[in-house]
Structure formats: C-alpha cells, structure tokens
C-alpha cells in the first residue's frame, strides 16, 4: 500500500478544464437532464439534441457546477457521444470516461460517474417523455451510475437536514 495520495489530474483533465468542449445551455435541446446537487458541490446539466428518426445524438452540451474533474468528465462525455446512437451512448461507463481522461484517481471517480448518470437520465427521459416507449436494450432497473446520482442527491438532503437548511 502506497502512502502517496494519488495525483488528482491527468493533463487531459486540465486541457478540458481550460478549454471545455460543448459547454453551455442548448436552447433547442430535445431533452435536458441533471444529476448531483449544489449542496454536494457537484452538479451537471446535460443537453441532448436527438435526431428522432435515427435516434442519433447530433449535438450535446453541458453545464457544470463542480470541480475541474467534473467539468472535464462532462465535456469528455459530450465528445464521446457525438453522432452516436442512443444505445451506443448508453453503453459508455464512467470507466470509459475515466480512461479517456487519462485516469481519474479514486476520490474523483464519482465525477465521471455523475456525468454518465446525467446522460443516462437524459436517455431514459427521452424514451419516457417523448417516445412513450422503452426499447428492449434499455434496462428497467436503474444502472449503477444513475444510482450514484441518486445517492449523491440523497447525501445533499442529509446535509441540508444536518445544517437545518
């Protein structure tokens, strides 16, 4: 067991923090979702523009109230899902995001997880609210990253109660 605290960032995290790709609100988004909470210091809003015929993500963007890893993870994910089908986008995991960022240290893995959680929420919401149908590949049960987002939000509620807000 090493006594060294792992380095928080790979250069790619800093690169995307300096120059985030696909940042900002999307006015014509097909679907919007969010994950996390300001109380936890980590919140992502995710915007998807979906071509309804092909079910391909033609454009996506994000806003982030979070640390540099959080910003980079959200930005990286928007790059990864561009021109991907909803099914392909769904299959990206936090480990894929982390790998693309050059590896997130364990204490920051939840940042990658939160971005994936927000994206999956958006995909789920698209089928539920717009398509009113669920494709076979979409699991009925919440995935690990969606649950993570819920856990983080539950933690925020706990914090709020603790500090009587």
């Amino acid at each position: 067991m090493s006594s060294r605290i792992p380095l928080p960032y790979a250069p790619r995290v800093l690169e995307l923090f300096q120059n985030p790709q696909n940042l900002g609100r999307m006015e014509d988004a097909t679907i919007v979702s969010s994950a996390g909470s300001p109380a936890c210091g980590d919140m992502i809003a995710f915007y998807l523009l979906i071509d309804e015929k092909s079910e391909v993500i033609t454009k996506s963007s994000f806003e982030s109230y979070g640390c540099a890893s959080n910003i980079a993870a959200a930005s990286q994910l928007t790059i990864m899902i561009e021109n991907k089908s909803l099914k392909e986008a769904w299959d990206f995991t936090w480990a894929d995001v982390s790998e693309a960022l050059g590896g997130l240290p364990s204490v920051k893995t939840h940042c990658g997880s939160l971005a994936v959680g927000a994206l999956r929420r958006a995909i789920r919401a698209y089928y539920k609210e717009i398509k009113n149908s669920k494709p076979e590949w979409l699991p009925s049960d919440l995935s690990k990253d969606e649950k993570h987002a819920l856990e983080e939000e539950a933690l925020a509620d706990k914090l709020k109660k603790k500090y009587k807000l």
Partner: protein, 403 residues
C-alpha cells in the same frame, strides 16, 4: 496515470505569481536559511544529550535558542517542549495530559478547532472519554455560555484555539480561561495558538493557560519544528517511545539546524511585530473588501476589524465551485485554497464554514488566502485585477444551474 511533468506543462506558468496559500504551505527567507546552514555543515550539529565537546556545544546553543523562542511568549524556556509540528503539539497536549490524569474523562473542544485537535479529542472516545463540542456564533466565536454549562467534576481539559486558522476569528480565550478556572482550578486549559503566534500579543505570564501549541512554519520558519508551552508543575507523558533525549516529551535526535531557523524566524517576526501587523492588516482589508465590492454575490466569512486575525482573508463566491476556483486561480498565478468538498479527501465541505452556518453551497465557493510580511501591495493589486475574471469564468461554466 500520467506524469506530473505533463500536467505541469499543460498548466503552464502565469506571467505573474502571487502565493497566498500560507495556511497550507510556507517557505523560509534567505536569512533564515543562512542561519540554518552552518548547523548542517559546520557547528553544533551534535546531539545535545551526549557528553563530549560537540554535544556540549550543541547543548549550549540549544538552551540559548529555546530562550529566544520562549521570549516573545514571556515564558520560561524550560516550559517549552519542542515537537516536530503543531499537529504533534496538539496531540501531545491532549493525549499526553490524559495519560497522566486518568481520573477525569471529559474533554471539551470547540467546533472550529483545527482537525489535529478535534480528531485527537475524538480519538479518546475509544478510551471511554466523553468529548463535548462547543458551538460557535456565525462569525466563528466560541460560545462561552455553553462552555460554562458543560463544565463538571469529570472535566479534564478544555481546548480552545486562540485564532481560527480558516476564518481568522480571534477567540475569547481570556474569558473562557476565567470561566474554567473560576469553576474548578483543576481543569486544564489548552489553547492551539498556532494561527495567533506572531499575529496578536500572547503574553503567557498574564494569560495563564496551562498548555499552548505554536509552530515555526507559521511564522516563516522551517517546517518540522514546533512547540508546546507547558505551565510549570503540569506533567505530560510522551505519546511515543524512543531514546532518552534532551526533549523528554519528544524522544528523538534533536535537530539544531531547524531550531536555529525557528529562533531566527521568531527574531524576524517579533522584532517587527507592529510593522508586520500593520502591513498585513492593510493588505487584508484591501484584498478582502476589494473582492467583496468588485465581485457580485461575494460574502466575507468570519468577523471584521480587530476581532479578525490580521493575516486572514476568507470569502465565498456564490455560484462557483471552490476546487475549480483554485485551479483557475492557479492558471492565473494566484495560489490559494478552498473549503469546498472537492478539495478535501472526504468530500465534505469545511467543518468550520458549516459550523458558522454557511450553507454547503456557500462553503463550496469559499477561497482562503493569507498574507504575511513577504506579500506586497503590488501583489494584492494583481489579485484584485485578476480575480473578477477568474470568478466570471467559473460562473460561466456553472451557467444556468441554480445555486
């Protein structure tokens, strides 16, 4: 994981750099280093506990240097135990006292103590100690009325810091001490004076605390050496075992070079005490109120005026996450720290900012900066010019997310 050098290359270096993270890391001055050098290379490098010429020469220096360190505290040099850090001093004060006084099993500390006090006190739970945590007001001042209520015949120790390290609150130590001693003289009183040493007068012949921690690095002396004042007659037990040495409570091989650096830093800080206080107070107010007026939705954390440490600036920029803020500041050459959850390993916001009633999202947006005798007005001007851009950029990433 990539190489740190690649990360630094990606980061780049700003045209101007201003270091304000004195809370987390300090450097020494050339003069201090020069004072230390001969003790590494030429003279009095021996072990002061050994009976030969080099040992005695070292002992002679040791006694004189300790006198120099005790002087600004107006304390007997014999009452100063040298340790390796203020963390060790705080551990020694609490655990070392408990080991010698096993009848009473209640420790009272404030909610805003340094974690080296809070965690040490809480570590006594497993030895059946009761630990009471005193609340603070919204500027961080310890509530002494509740202290009065908590005192009983079980109480062994009360530990209240002299100045809060994060929001600069000057604590009512004198008042708390009187309350404790009026109730029962046998209750011990410790103050963690780490953030007060060299900032406000601490005359321990008048402020009769039993134990006081202070440190070399916080007055720009070398890291790795600190002190614990122990009032005459109070017995502590060492918290770790080792060989017999001059420092009975810190059994180790003494380091004369660090001691020389510590003594020199004391000389530099205290020979210009009033000038440094005036200088830092001026920079503090310029920076803190400058940020408050020039950047919207900015709150000051902690008290104002004389009740605030002369070197402490702590503000919250709402709508900014603090870790991102420190990284963006860094890219602009400004080095500071934040009480945000993401800067800590436990992913919880600063226990001090939440203790004063800051909402988690206010704590997440906090920035802690300290000024000392090395900082200049020109540096503060640069920070004031630059921070609005830094905050704007982080807020632009937050975008429409409602905080």
């Amino acid at each position: 994981m990539s190489n740190v050098e690649d990360l630094l290359e990606q980061h780049g270096k700003a045209i101007k750099e201003v270091y304000l993270d004195w809370e987390n890391g300090t450097r020494i001055e050339e003069e201090v280093l020069e004072t230390m050098k001969p003790f590494y290379l030429e003279k009095q490098f021996g072990n002061p506990a050994i009976t030969h010429r080099v040992g005695w020469e070292t002992y002679d220096f040791y006694v004189k240097a300790k006198s120099a360190i005790a002087k600004p505290l107006n304390a007997d040099p014999q009452s100063i135990a040298l340790t390796h850090s203020f963390t060790e001093s705080n551990n020694l004060a609490i655990k070392g006292l408990a080991k010698m006084n096993k009848k009473r099993k209640k420790i009272i500390v404030s909610e805003v103590e340094h974690l080296s006090v809070i965690h040490t006190a809480k570590s006594m739970f497993k030895e059946d100690y009761k630990v009471k945590i005193l609340p603070v007001s919204n500027d961080g001042t310890v509530n002494v009325d509740i202290l009065q209520e908590e005192l009983d015949d079980e109480t062994l120790l009360v530990s209240i810091q002299s100045i809060n390290h994060e929001i600069g609150t000057v604590q009512p130590v004198k008042e708390a001490l009187e309350i404790v001693k009026d109730f029962d003289e046998k209750i011990f009183f410790h103050t963690d004076a780490t953030s007060a040493f060299g900032r406000i007068p601490l005359d321990l012949s008048k402020l009769e605390v039993d134990l006081a921690s202070f440190s070399s690095n916080r007055i720009l002396g070398p890291k790795g050496i600190a002190g614990l004042y122990i009032k005459d007659g109070i017995k502590l037990k060492s918290i770790y075992e080792g060989q017999l040495s001059v420092e009975i409570l810190s059994p180790d091989v003494e380091n004369p070079a660090l001691l020389a650096g510590f003594a020199k830093a004391v000389e530099l800080q205290f020979s210009q005490f009033d000038e440094i206080k005036a200088h830092t107070t001026k920079l503090r107010d310029k920076l803190m109120y400058g940020l408050h007026t020039s950047i919207e939705r900015t709150d000051v954390n902690g008290p104002a005026g004389k009740r605030r440490a002369p070197d402490n600036i702590n503000v919250s920029f709402l709508g900014c996450e603090g870790e991102a803020l420190t990284v963006e500041s860094s890219m602009n050459g400004i080095y500071a720290s934040s009480g945000s959850a993401c800067t800590s390993r436990v992913l919880m916001p600063s226990h001090i900012l939440t203790a004063i009633g800051r909402k988690p999202e206010e704590a997440h947006g906090s920035l802690l900066m300290k000024v000392n005798r090395l900082n200049t007005e020109e540096e503060i001007n640069y920070v004031l010019e630059t921070m609005p851009k830094v905050v704007d950029r982080i807020r632009s990433i937050t975008g429409g997310i409602q905080i």
